[in-house]
Symmetry: C2
Subunit: 223 residues, 2 copies
Amino acid sequence: MHLKDAVKNSFLFSDLSPESLADLEKISIRRTFGKGEMPFHEDEPANSLFMLGSGSVNLVKSSAEGKEQLIRTVKPGEIFAEAALFSGENYPVTAIATAKSIVYSINKEKLLKFISKKPEVSLKMMGAMARLLRHLNSLIADLTLGSVSSRLAKFLLTKYNETGSKSFDLGMKKQDLAKKLGTAGETLSRNLSKFKDLSLIDIKGSYVVIKDLKGLKKYIEKE
Amino acid sequence: MHLKDAVKNSFLFSDLSPESLADLEKISIRRTFGKGEMPFHEDEPANSLFMLGSGSVNLVKSSAEGKEQLIRTVKPGEIFAEAALFSGENYPVTAIATAKSIVYSINKEKLLKFISKKPEVSLKMMGAMARLLRHLNSLIADLTLGSVSSRLAKFLLTKYNETGSKSFDLGMKKQDLAKKLGTAGETLSRNLSKFKDLSLIDIKGSYVVIKDLKGLKKYIEKE
DNA sequence: CGTTCGCTTGAGGCCGTTCAAGCGACGTGG
DNA sequence: CCACGTCGCTTGAACGGCCTCAAGCGAACG
């Protein structure tokens, strides 16, 4: 895949002029990562912004004991490590490719120079960061204020809204979903069984069918 | 207090030219809030950016059941509700003044116009958002990956680093500290007692003396 | 002097964790 | 083609951290 194509889906750079695009290409580096490889680690000095061309990347925080919290999963066209651009320290999270991925990295200083000539890009950049801020805010609220079953119900309903269908695939390993929900695999397993016993859903493998929409919605509120 | 003085401590606007400052003043509204009053609520449409002139403001997320998680406490000169600027929805959090505060609010569209003429301000704005992103990232990690005692130890050591002294005041009500640490008041109380019993600290009221720095540090790692 | 407020302390219970064992699906090598 | 190992998931049992409810206590304040 070429940068030109990647950029089409990109929020940040989608309507750049051809000349600008050529400039951007000069300062960006294209790399591919296999499943499990890490584009960057949270204890590395941050010197680049990244854009995902294809594949999928998870952003996680990990503790000394090896526990992990999934902060965000990046989809093609999205940028990540945006905080890296503006503070001279290390990356705040670790990036892990969960599938073969094409990643463009852009050196911090060069990008800053590039951006400063293009106010539209700055605005979009801020927009992207603002959306992230919202995401993190509600993630905090979720993790702190709610229970696992409420988070699970919310996840299922979000999937339902995204796909527009009552039956869908989880789209990730249950282990990963557990991490996303900030819990252990066993606990997720039990909660899925509970929902199944209550006839709220049916589940076979990673394939889910929502049977009782209202019932699930109640679970979101019910702490 | 006049906007001019507030701006001196402000990260965003600190080195604006006098003319720009005059422009800024035209589009900003000065308001004062008493303790407990709310400059904005998380279910209100977001139409302004805020800057704290003096006083102190807490940003919280609250759940249906009235539980609250403290996301950030804003200090004079800092801006807040920055995410509001770039996405047309509601405020992501609720702001509560914890002391008599002077707050400047700036209409979203007007500020955007103002900013777009000043790339330096955009850059600073992004810097501010980047710092926030980092803050939220580590908050999530803390809340998810660690225990209350670890978070408490981290808080105490941060205070120690900030003040440079082993004895200091908590700087807030214990209730508020509990919310900041994402726990209940009772649990905080027990943990403080535990640290005291272990001779890691001494505490009288909200006045703390650190007695065993290494002991506290161990608690941070220890899950 | 009584009330309110912030904090502490106790008792009980629940949710989620960890450790362990077991199970089916899958792939590989004999 | 089957045996075996691995992997992801499930299930059970026990433990424990944190929460809630409730009572009590000192300090501040009217």
